[in-house]
Point group: C2
Chain length 235, copies 2
């Protein structure tokens, strides 16, 4: 079975967390973003009123199933591709961590869109500056400090131990994205999270991820996605 991933064509966005899992697993998938009518097919699927229409992308077609919500897609893929523990306790734990990353991703998005997703950044520069300051003063230390703490137990290679899960792939993306969006702030902060930086490098060196990052399938970071570089927010 070949999966089809539906997501906006010009950005990494939330779809990237799914792409990283599919790529690391070496799963066969079509990326609707790269097919001629992929975007219109995506819109039609969301407009559907019968069955189980997704509220928003990303969503994954897996045979007859259409699964939306990033963490839910990873829950599904994790079981099938060895990217999560098999036992229920481990599965719930990894999913719980992914949901915490989901919360962090939304807070990252809100740094440039504090007044809501429907207005342009240019119309909310002042509030964005305030929100970004608060994000770096309060939230980054709390979130990244939490994940750094999870890595502290006994020289683990990955968050849950010796095997990578989708959470490790997502944490790679968080570090990479924060470096892109806030190079100065992140540079000053990285000494606080040495284990997460190592984790980033370890994930980047996994053969399938390395090949993916070097391919043209990896869309570059840009100012339409979640991680946006606005110089005035990185001061």
């Amino acid at each position: 079975m070949k999966y089809v991933l539906y997501y906006w064509s010009m950005i990494q966005g939330r779809g990237e967390f799914v792409r990283l899992a599919l790529e690391d697993a070496g799963a066969a998938y079509d990326d609707a973003a790269r097919s001629g009518d992929g975007m219109s097919a995506m819109m039609r699927m969301m407009d559907g009123t019968k069955g189980t229409p997704p509220f928003a992308p990303p969503f994954l077609q897996a045979g007859k199933l259409v699964i939306a919500q990033t963490a839910n897609i990873l829950l599904y893929l994790g079981s099938r591709h060895g990217l999560a523990p098999k036992a229920e306790a481990g599965k719930l734990w990894v999913h719980q961590l992914q949901l915490t990353i989901t919360d962090l991703v939304l807070e990252i998005h809100d740094t440039h869109h504090p007044l809501g997703p429907s207005l342009y950044y240019e119309d909310q520069r002042g509030p964005a500056k305030k929100r970004t300051d608060e994000f770096w003063n309060e939230r980054v230390p709390k979130y990244l400090g939490y994940f750094e703490g999870l890595m502290e137990e006994g020289g683990k290679a990955y968050v849950t131990g010796r095997k990578a899960t989708y959470v490790d792939l997502s944490l790679f993306q968080i570090v990479a994205g924060l470096r892109y969006a806030f190079p100065k702030r992140m540079k000053a902060f990285e000494s606080e999270i040495p284990r997460l930086v190592e984790l980033h490098d370890r994930v980047a060196a996994r053969p399938n991820i390395k090949a993916y990052l070097e391919s043209d399938r990896r869309i570059a970071f840009n100012e339409q996605g979640i991680f946006r570089h606005y110089r005035e927010l990185d001061a």
Copy 2:
């Protein structure tokens, strides 16, 4: 096995979505919010660095398991208490809907805290007014219109059909909370979502929910929770 629910003691907050499921299921649980040292026990569990410490409340102790993230707790409870379909497709679908409700809940919270959760409302009144306008103009019609659409197929009593799931309980809470926080705006909007209003009433009439709502276990809405009534935001 008796569950223990850990959540802040003075508010409904995110913990309420879990309480509604526990109450509807008639599950035996202790609410840490109602025990003498519940809050300090909760803080100790979050401070732990070993095992699987939660990032934030709510979390549920279920025997040896400690499960955090509202939607994750409901995923766990849903399977055990008949509040979710048993087959994988249905389970993923209901979880996906709950994660969309999670997104909505965060946007509701952001109406009064657009500059972030660490600052007081009083320090962000102007941005809160703008975010609230945008929320009611763009986001409420999109989210509630989506759930209303799911109820349109063939006279279903609940979102997935004849049986209630934790998603129905959560949608009850969304309608109740929006009525509390924005009575004027919600009154004007309710004609757009007749099926969700019916769903709210149907859930409120379920015997265990009815008994819960009339009990002193139901904390009243207030201005420390997610749904806050600020008159200036309801104009």
